[in-house]
Subunit: 174 residues, 2 copies
């Protein structure tokens, strides 16, 4: 499979990575969450070439993660702001940050700490169940086919074709 | 900055991406969470070259995310299992999956659903505050320098050097 085709997989992780899985892209999004909006600021923070930055920003605009908004008329200049789709990446960003804090801190503790203004405490981003609120642990969570994949599986079964299990189903082009 | 140097940033997101930010790596980890352990299974699921897969698996072993365990004596064969450090990537994986479910589902609903065995309900992975349990929203969370970066900032201030704000501090080599 080619990387450019991973958004064709019937897998939300692969589809998400087709947007945010490039080198630098999540760092651009990190900077956007910290308030960076202008091309030169992104470039200064990241230290990547203008060409590469421009290409990455363009893809994020195309994917609807960032929106390009004019902030100056003459000459016309644009800045990049997170859309709702972009803001929805916050759990991805904070989960990466927490993993880095806990497993890649070089023994020096977290570079940044986070205060949850709503409760006033230093917080650790914690993945929990939407229904019971308990932390989600992999051994307690069972994946099952969603309605669309289940329909595909049912069709195959009725046609007497083999059910190949979940991982190969990921590769169905839906 | 070169990509290979991003683990030198004083930023946990960058450090995490230095391990899991390569193309294919998070998909390898996804497969590992779904029970894939053997080289040929990974290759069959992902459809990438043996050379690339071998390189990615090797890096994950080196980083302590996977461990190589013999499962056969003659000839000796190895399988790859998630370590505690690897299992700790579950929130990253599930946050990517949820974002893909909500924003990249092509209008067909989530390919996979997840049942939380502990409470028996279909669950959506939700990022919450470790202290009050409320969902974490970016506008309600304030980052602040951790102790090590704060010490660096204090030193600079005492030396009369300018405090450059947080994003440039990310680039300090700690």
């Amino acid at each position: 499979m080619r990387w450019d085709d991973i958004n064709q997989q019937a897998c939300s992780v692969a589809r998400a990575l087709s947007v945010v899985g490039e080198r630098w892209t999540m760092l651009i999004i990190r900077d956007a969450f910290f308030g960076t909006r202008r091309f030169d600021q992104f470039q200064g923070n990241l230290g990547i070439t203008r060409h590469r930055l421009s290409e990455r920003l363009g893809k994020l605009v195309e994917a609807g993660v960032l929106v390009k908004v004019p902030y100056n008329d003459r000459p016309v200049r644009y800045e990049y702001r997170l859309t709702r789709k972009g803001l929805a990446l916050y759990p991805v960003l904070m989960s990466l940050a927490r993993w880095g804090d806990e497993w890649m801190d070089k023994g020096e503790g977290a570079p940044l700490e986070y205060v949850h203004q709503k409760c006033g405490h230093k917080t650790h981003a914690t993945l929990t169940c939407s229904e019971c609120g308990d932390p989600l642990r992999p051994q307690e969570v069972t994946p099952q086919l969603g309605p669309v994949l289940q329909a595909v599986a049912d069709e195959r079964e009725q046609a007497g074709e083999s059910l190949q299990g979940i991982p190969p189903l990921f590769r169905l082009s839906m």
